[in-house]
């Protein structure tokens, strides 16, 4: 399925130990984060009560099911310490990190934020919520946002850049002027404005950032297609009766994949830092969405609680470093000059 060249490139990528391990670590971390509910949650994975099994991480059970008084969701942490529950033969298995990202733990000694302890490994934030749980959920939100942003902006950048470069002439010139005008809009103001009109949210934020993120890649692809369209095999393909769309996407695009793939990890990095920055400023995802930028902001508010800023900065640093290592590895693996003497 993959060509010999692609396989050789993949082998070269694997040979770059740093990049390969960064890729494995980041991939595993992302896959694990998709199951955040089973890793860090104040709902038990499995609960046994009165002869039946319950799975509170995926289903809603009212408190009345477990001898409570109200039809609201059961408070499993209170239930765990409730002697009546144990007396009725009930038991539960909690996730490895028994704290949810939204649950406020206000029964700690002193006022929140409280420092790291046995129950809360990275302490709690200003609202008494577990920092580690919020880091994990924040990682998932950041990665999902960034991956979606990367996918959308890559497709848009490739399609627009390719058409511009292939068509050339007036279409290219006028499109280029429009892009320049669009690019001159202050990004942050557009985010604030649209956030104010349509309300902050994942979808609108993704849309607005995508509208700006594709431009850099489209410049590269446009240049690449300007070069490629003069290749004799493009003329040969036309002489064979292939349509413009076929030539563009089936004949030329495979020859222009190097900038696309090289850009991918760096777009991912840009997406994560962008979301963090916007959350830090308060223009990102609406509270109480767990996010690193919001945690960073709290770290600034509570300068006496270094675990807030420290954990979010460390998480951000490690993630960005891993993604950058992958990016460097891909760039080196795709570099055709890596084996020549001319460097």
């Amino acid at each position: 399925m993959f060509s010999e060249i692609s396989r050789a490139r993949f082998r070269r990528f694997r040979a770059i130990k740093r990049a390969w391990w960064a890729f494995i670590i980041l991939t595993i971390a992302f896959i694990l984060s998709l199951f955040s509910e089973e890793i860090a949650n104040d709902h038990p994975l499995l609960l046994f009560y009165h002869g039946s099994y319950y799975f509170p991480t995926c289903c809603f059970y009212p408190a009345t099911d477990f001898g409570g008084r109200y039809k609201t969701e059961a408070d499993y942490i209170a239930l765990r310490d409730d002697p009546a529950f144990h007396a009725a033969g009930g038991w539960m298995i909690l996730p490895p990190i028994p704290s949810g990202p939204q649950h406020p733990y206000l029964d700690m000694s002193g006022n929140p934020p409280s420092p790291p302890s046995k129950d809360h490994w990275l302490g709690t934030d200003g609202s008494g919520r577990d920092v580690l749980a919020r880091l994990i959920y924040g990682f998932r939100v950041g990665m999902l946002f960034s991956l979606a942003l990367t996918a959308i902006s890559t497709v848009a950048g490739v399609v627009i850049g390719a058409i511009q470069g292939y068509a050339g002439g007036r279409l290219d010139l006028s499109a280029q002027r429009l892009i320049e005008i669009w690019n001159a809009l202050p990004f942050l103001y557009v985010v604030i404005l649209l956030g104010a009109i349509y309300g902050q949210g994942f979808g609108i934020l993704l849309l607005v950032t995508s509208l700006f993120q594709w431009i850099a890649l489209s410049y590269y692809i446009r240049g690449e297609f300007y070069k490629l369209r003069e290749q004799p095999y493009v003329l040969a393909s036309r002489a064979l009766g292939a349509s413009h769309g076929r030539i563009l996407f089936l004949q030329m695009l495979p020859n222009a994949m190097t900038p696309v793939i090289t850009f991918l990890p760096f777009t991912l990095v840009a997406g994560i830092s962008l979301l963090t920055a916007l959350d830090f400023l308060g223009f990102g995802l609406p509270p109480p969405t767990p996010s690193w930028g919001e945690l960073l902001d709290e770290g600034l508010q509570y300068l006496t609680a270094p675990w807030l800023a420290g954990s979010s900065v460390a998480a951000l640093f490690i993630t960005l470093m891993l993604a950058t290592m992958i990016g460097e590895g891909i760039r080196d693996a795709l570099d055709p000059k890596s084996l020549t003497k001319l460097r």
Binding site: S3, E4, I5, Q231, P232, Y233, L235, A236, S237, R238, A239, L240, G241, A242, S243, L250, Q251, P254, N255
Partner: protein, 282 residues
């Protein structure tokens, strides 16, 4: 007399350049009948490749412009066709072979992929594409074709690449093959092989060929008629034997003199003296 396959009438093509309009092809007319081979001979810049590309309207417009004339393919004017109609003619009825096989093949695809693409475009009824690819590679003389078809262009020699290009062109079963300097980029020995191959294929499939070259030496055994182009005009047009035996135009004579003759002792290779030609009013 039957209607010719291709009838080019009074074709004039100009290019808009920074220094004004440049007429690359001036009032060119010629015909190609079924099974006939026409050689268009001329030096670099004489307009022969532009003429070849114009046959299926492949020139970029602008800067190119078809100022006058018509290209009648089976009685239908190519220059008046829409894009869809043109696409069915390109490759399917008129196929091209270009000068540089190494760059005319897409470097990221195997030759199997590229020949399959040609078959896919023009012969949608073919079901076993691999067998068809192997068949055509065998026809153009690529040995061990079932293995070689999975090679990338860079893994083949120049002669093999050109054979693959010919296989690609022939696999659409065209009526006319336009070979634009098919041997110029190849070694002399490979040139002879490729020309033999074309001659054999022409006899086998009865197709017409337009052979574009600057080398009078290679057309002898294959071309029925010759058109000599010079500065955008056809200066001599006739049967190959007649033109070679009795060239009328000084430019044709000069071109023929450029062919190295075995056994002849010459101090200098003959060249074309453009100043002398210009003085004689051409």
């Amino acid at each position: 007399m039957t209607e010719p396959l291709l009838d080019v009438r009074d074709l004039t093509i100009e290019f808009a350049t920074e220094r004004g309009l440049f007429e690359a092809v001036k009032h060119v007319s010629f015909t190609v009948s079924k099974g006939e081979t026409l050689a268009i001979v001329g030096e670099s810049g004489s307009g022969k490749s532009v003429t070849a590309l114009a046959l299926t309207s492949l020139l970029p417009v602008p800067p190119a412009r078809y100022r006058s004339g018509a290209i009648l393919w089976k009685g239908e004017n190519v220059l008046a066709m829409n894009e869809r109609r043109l696409r069915s003619i390109r490759g399917g009825q008129m196929a091209y072979i270009f000068q540089e096989p190494s760059t005319s093949l897409n470097p990221v695809f195997t030759i199997r992929n590229q020949i399959a693409e040609a078959i896919h475009l023009h012969r949608p009824d073919v079901t076993d594409i691999d067998a068809e690819v192997v068949r055509w590679l065998d026809i153009v003389g690529i040995v061990n074709s079932a293995q070689r078809m999975n090679d990338y262009p860079h893994q083949l020699s120049g002669g093999m690449q050109q054979r693959a290009m010919i296989a690609m062109a022939l696999s659409c079963q065209p009526d006319l093959l336009v070979a634009d300097e098919p041997t110029t980029a190849l070694d002399v020995t490979i040139q002879a092989q490729i020309m033999d191959q074309l001659r054999e294929l022409k006899a086998r499939f009865g197709m017409s060929i337009i052979l574009i070259t600057h080398n009078f030496g290679i057309i002898g055994g294959i071309a029925d008629r010759v058109a000599v182009m010079f500065r955008g005009k056809i200066v001599e047009y006739g049967s190959t034997a007649e033109v070679l035996r009795n060239p009328q135009h000084p430019y044709t004579r000069a071109l023929i003199d450029c062919i190295p003759k075995p056994g002849a002792r010459v101090r200098r290779l003959a060249t074309i003296d453009h100043d002398a030609l210009a003085e004689s009013g051409l």
